[in-house]
């Protein structure tokens, strides 16, 4: 029996919760060096790296709901780096590398499980996009290749390659290092590690306004439902709420919000050891550590600031899923939910400095926010600490749209997961 569990077994109940994962500080201080808006994976990671790497601990993370309650708790839990553009590949591969050691860094089992990731191609144009990604990945040292039907048959024998008769599978982009992790634990791990280093995490604290100097060129503090807080620097790391926050400083961005829905089946004995995504059918499936099949599809077509569920999402997904994996017809959907997907025109995030001094932005994460949690925290901490944009995120500046220097991640325009 692992030593650690013994330690917990004989701990007397009173000592439990010392230290707590997250303290519940009674009051907000009147000012902080840094205020991070958003207590999800990105916000807590940034607080952790600010404290660990730059010794900046006079930091408050303000979360309107509960820690990890936003998109951090609602995503595909997939981690991968087989992106299309060199800028995307370098950024997400750094994230994947950070993930590999994160359970040890944060002393919490993230159940990071390398499974192999298939992006199925159901047409010759999808095969071309797969080869484009594979060639770029290989050039940048990423384990990623185009595989044929036989390879898929061997790895995933229960997959119907003819897909019920329409859109047969022609091949796939296979990415060995593709992994899944327990999403909640990432937020809790970062939260505790930041909390222990003196960062204050305030839940049920909503930012209702951002105060700037007279000519609106510099941020000075934030209004919350618990009063005003002065801040040397303010970072917006709120994904689905990004437009609401940026509009508080009069900053227009290309971010638009679309609901992204997902669902799980009842937990069954694990049998699927890989991650399956279909670009053409716009759906994904993997089996969680609890045994549930976690499934989802592309974002809803119209803008909506809500996490309401819809039935046509379930109908479309289950219809496609039974073509891919016929036996899932016998499983039962137990629960469905939704996150708020902050999409950008070039499917790449918006990070770094903004035209307003001391106001930094980390948003536009579309369907790829969870994958970027460690590297986004790290690079944003560096950028905020030094007021200098980290090299890895230079291509993702807000100003890229002014000069039409979009990132080519949109490629052949089908959203990946």
């Amino acid at each position: 029996m692992p030593y650690r569990l013994l330690k917990y077994a004989f701990k007397n109940p009173e000592e439990l919760g010392d230290p707590r994962y997250f303290d519940q500080p009674e009051k907000l201080k009147s000012s902080y060096d840094v205020v991070i808006i958003g207590g999800g994976g990105h916000g807590l990671a940034c607080a952790y790296y600010l404290a660990r790497d730059f010794g900046i601990t006079n930091v408050a993370v303000l979360e309107q709901g509960y820690v990890g309650g936003g998109n951090t708790g609602r995503n595909t839990t997939i981690v991968r780096s087989n992106y299309l553009t060199p800028e995307g590949v370098k950024f997400y591969d750094e994230s994947l590398k950070l993930y590999l050691d994160l359970s040890d860094d944060l002393d919490i089992n993230l159940m990071y499980s390398t499974r192999g990731h298939f992006t199925l191609a159901h047409s010759d144009s999808a095969m071309r996009t797969s080869r484009w990604r594979a060639e770029t990945n290989k050039h940048l040292g990423i384990d990623s290749e185009v595989v044929d039907r036989q390879f898929i048959k061997n790895e995933v024998p229960y997959l119907d390659l003819d897909c019920g008769g329409t859109h047969p599978i022609m091949g796939a982009l296979y990415h060995g290092p593709g992994a899944v992790a327990r999403h909640d634990a990432v937020a809790w791990g970062y939260g505790r590690a930041a909390n222990v280093r003196g960062v204050e995490i305030h839940q049920k604290t909503q930012v209702t306004g951002i105060k700037t100097n007279d000519d609106g060129t510099k941020v000075v503090g934030v209004e919350t439902n618990r009063g005003f807080v002065q801040a040397g620097k303010v970072i917006s790391m709120v994904a689905g709420s990004s437009p609401r926050i940026t509009s508080m400083v009069g900053l227009k961005t290309p971010i638009e919000i679309f609901p992204l829905q997902a669902c799980v089946t009842e937990p069954v004995k694990p049998f699927m050891d890989t991650i399956i995504v279909s670009g053409s059918l716009h759906c994904y499936v993997s089996q969680s550590s609890r045994g549930e099949m976690v499934m989802g599809a592309s974002a809803d077509p119209q803008e909506l600031h809500s996490t309401r569920s819809s039935f046509d999402f379930v109908e479309g997904l289950t219809d496609q899923m039974m073509d891919l994996l016929p036996f899932t017809g016998g499983l039962r959907l137990m629960r469905q939910w939704a996150g708020m997907c902050d999409m950008t025109p070039d499917f790449a995030p918006i990070m770094g400095k903004t035209p307003i001094d001391n106001f930094y932005l980390d948003g536009g994460w579309g369907t790829w926010g969870f994958k970027a949690t460690p590297v986004s925290g790290k690079t944003m901490a560096y950028t905020v600490a030094n007021d200098k944009v980290h090299d890895l995120i230079k291509p993702f500046g807000l100003d890229r749209f002014d000069t039409y220097k979009l990132v080519g991640e949109k490629g052949a325009a089908s959203v990946g997961h």
Binding site: S242, P243, I255, P301, Q302, S306, R308, D312, F401
Partner: protein, 88 residues
């Protein structure tokens, strides 16, 4: 499934529609600076609120413009096309 109440064809489920995005007034190209034009092309006021949007009813082939609250998903009113027309 959201229901949209339309003239002539009555209440229809949203699955019969294609979302045509927000109605956005185009600035005069000749008078817009590069930055202003890029702002028109890419920037969106993404915050929740009431917006005029294009909705295409596929089976009957008709374009409608509705005002919709993007927070509550409530269709507030049908907008006359003339209200969103503009000269170059």
């Amino acid at each position: 499934m959201k229901v949209i109440d339309c003239p002539h064809i009555g209440k229809r489920p949203m699955s019969e529609f294609v979302y045509g995005h927000e109605v956005r007034e185009m600035p005069k190209p000749s008078e817009a600076s590069d930055k202003e034009w890029a702002d028109y092309v890419f920037s969106r006021d993404g915050a929740p609120g009431v917006k005029k949007e294009w909705w295409h009813h596929v089976p009957s082939g008709i374009w409608f413009v509705f005002e919709r609250d993007t927070l509550t998903d409530k269709f507030i009113r049908l907008v006359d096309i003339a209200e969103v027309q503009y000269e170059l």
